[in-house]
């Protein structure tokens, strides 16, 4: 059963893959799941895989989830490994989230605001009681609200942060004139600019971002956050082909955007203003967008003249470890054979122990039982 038999490696891999295929399919008396069912019924898993896989394609994400037996990091890995082979034809125009056809739009900083508060399809106010009666879950009331927003809400909604901006209560967002850095085309470099950081966070591991964001709330790099606005819905994606010279709409994507409003920076001489943290994710992903916004703001500590002491404020630490494809690869690579290195360690530790025993005199009980 050795996993590196002298010559049996190839057969062992083939046998492992055959076993994996059987396990993945499971009990054949049960019907197989179709990717379309995953798209339709496991939407949050699909959204996470699209975000971390950095490719907006629900069908591919669903196929990856199936192939990965529901292991979402493995699924994101499959998607990443596919996307990297795709030709890069053109950059899209920046999406306009103010023109989002919102299914969900909430602001925690105003009781009411133009366009109103809209919960959308959220679990926020459900009581987490297991629904043992599955037939009740399956039965959808015919009068349940449709995903299509009514026309009034489909109109452009001002962002809550823009309402603060009109009074200069929040720092301005200056459009960047430079071509943004593309993380997939050039490697991460430090110090990392904000566009670079946001790209890395957008595809970063949700659990890692969540834990870091949470740590800022508990005092490790506190930023006094408020959810200025969280919105989710469809945004039109446009490209401007050079041969046409005007923008054309190539379809819609679902996005979740979080504008975090954080407590002010300022001094006796410059009037205080609220500061911003920003989060954006493919799909419906409140947790992800909010965590990203918290971490984005925490990483701006140096720029805003705050102490840099907490993990979430350490740009190099956060960005170097947020990618779960990189992380899972390196953690799991410890399973690979390392016996050449280990052999040299064995020889070294034996030599060191011999030397130690020679100088100090024998320590027989320990030396005899060490098993080396």
């Amino acid at each position: 059963m050795a996993y590196v038999a002298v010559k049996g490696g190839e057969a062992a891999i083939a046998a492992a893959h055959a076993w994996l295929a059987r396990v993945r399919r499971g009990d054949t008396r049960l019907s197989a799941i179709a990717a379309a069912q995953i798209v339709a019924q496991l939407g949050r898993a699909v959204d996470r895989v699209m975000a971390e896989g950095a490719l907006y394609d629900p069908q591919l994400a669903a196929m990856a989830i199936l192939q990965a037996q529901g292991d979402l990091i493995e699924a994101a890995f499959l998607v990443r490994a596919y996307r990297t082979t795709l030709p890069r034809l053109i950059d899209s125009d920046p999406v306009d989230t103010a023109a989002m056809r919102t299914q969900r739009r909430i602001s925690a900083i105003f009781k009411d605001l133009p366009g109103g508060q809209r919960l959308g399809p959220t679990t926020d106010y459900t009581h987490r009681l297991l629904e043992f009666d599955i037939s009740a879950v399956a039965a959808i009331k015919p009068d349940a609200p449709k995903a299509d927003p009514d026309p009034a809400i489909a109109a452009t909604l001002p962002r809550a942060t823009d309402l603060l901006g009109a009074e200069s209560l929040i720092e301005g967002e200056v459009p960047s004139l430079n071509e943004p850095i593309d993380l997939t085309m050039s490697p991460l470099a430090f110090p990392a600019s904000r566009d670079e950081r946001l790209q890395a966070l957008a595809r970063g591991d949700e659990g890692f971002l969540l834990a870091l964001g949470y740590s800022t709330q508990r005092g490790y790099g506190h930023t006094h956050p408020f959810v200025g606005e969280l919105r989710m819905g469809a945004v039109g994606l446009r490209i401007t082909p050079p041969e046409l010279g005007f923008a054309i709409d190539i379809g819609d994507i679902i996005l979740t955007e979080c504008q975090m409003v954080n407590q002010f920076a300022g001094s006796k001489t410059t009037p205080p203003q609220f500061t911003r943290g920003y989060g954006l994710s493919f799909g419906h992903a409140d947790r992800r967008a909010m965590s990203m916004a918290l971490v984005d703001r925490a990483m701006r500590a140096e720029e805003l003249g705050e102490d840099v002491s907490a993990p979430a404020q350490n740009v190099e630490f956060v960005l170097s470890h947020c990618d779960n494809i990189e992380a899972t690869g390196f953690v799991e690579h410890l399973k690979l054979p390392h016996h050449v290195d280990f052999q040299s360690e064995l020889e070294t530790i034996r030599a060191m122990r011999r030397e130690a025993q020679a100088t100090k005199g024998a320590a027989p009980d320990e030396a005899d039982n060490a098993g080396l």
């Binding site: 105003f110 009781k111 009411d112 300022g266 205080p272």
Partner: protein, 277 residues
């Protein structure tokens, strides 16, 4: 509700929580650790307050739940319906009709009585956490009443901004001993904590702490002799009821800078309107 005990929690858990409450009442402002349970609502949404309410509520109680001062905010509705469902108790929106009031971020405008209990939902029970993130260290600071760093923080605000820049969750000293977070109520509400006839209980589910201010206890907001505690409110009258001294919400009514101000305490606003009519 079938399959669950009265008010969701089992009786042993309720007894454990009541013992923590008794200890908290005996040491005003001191954070008592307790074995907080998983609740069917997420952490941060009031699980500490819900556990306190669940352990206190009886079949004869009348429950009021507010969030941001209002009975009709989504989370208040959710928690009220949770207890209506799991305990079958009567609920009310009238402050004076309630025996038990669970709140997030506000204290009702009208004074509470000694036959009422107010339960606060607390996100961060440790008032020192922004200055000292380690709970092991901050506990020692409480033991030694080492509160100098908090005074220094307020002093630094004055030198940097010209005033104390704490507008909510302004720290208080309870019974001249423990520094306490009043939960994120606006500083405007802090004076109501002082010598309140009602029992005030604070529950933090995620951080697993309970603390209390017994009736008629001194609660002093931290300040300096030459910079006295000075909470602010929006300088307007309520657009709905005309009240001049209540805490106001700001509502954005258009995208051209239009604003409307109205009482955050919806019950107070409604009764004020009824009185004026």
């Amino acid at each position: 509700m079938q399959g669950y005990n009265f008010a969701y929690l089992d009786e042993t858990t309720k007894r454990m929580i009541r013992r923590a409450i008794l200890k908290a009442v005996a040491i005003p402002g001191h954070q008592v650790p307790f074995a907080s349970r998983e609740m069917p609502l997420p952490y941060g949404w009031g699980t500490g307050g819900i556990q306190l309410t669940a352990s206190l509520i009886g079949a004869d109680d009348v429950l009021k739940v507010i969030d941001q001062g209002a009975d009709d905010t989504t989370n208040a509705i959710s928690i009220r319906s949770f207890f209506a469902r799991t305990a079958g108790v009567r609920t009310t929106t009238h402050t004076d009709a309630a025996t038990l009031i669970q709140t997030r971020h506000r204290i009702p405008e009208i004074p509470l009585r000694d036959d009422q209990i107010i339960v606060y939902q607390v996100p961060m029970p440790e008032p020192l956490y922004r200055l000292e993130p380690s709970r092991a260290v901050s506990r020692r600071m409480h033991a030694m009443a080492d509160y100098g760093p908090m005074h220094v923080k307020l002093y630094e605000d004055i030198t940097r901004f010209g005033r104390v820049a704490v507008s909510y969750d302004h720290p208080v000293v309870v019974n001249r001993r423990y520094l306490m977070s009043p939960s994120p109520i606006p500083a405007f509400d802090n004076p109501k904590l002082h010598r309140m006839p009602a029992l005030q209980l604070f529950g933090a589910g995620r951080e697993k702490r309970i603390y209390a201010v017994p009736p008629h206890t001194d609660v002093v907001s931290l300040d300096f002799e030459d910079r006295p505690f000075n909470p602010i409110r929006a300088p307007h009258r309520c657009a709905l009821c005309g009240a001049e001294h209540s805490y106001l919400d700001e509502m954005v009514i258009d995208d051209r800078g239009g604003r409307m101000f109205a009482c955050s305490d919806t019950d107070y606003c409604a009764s004020y309107q009824a009185r004026e009519a």
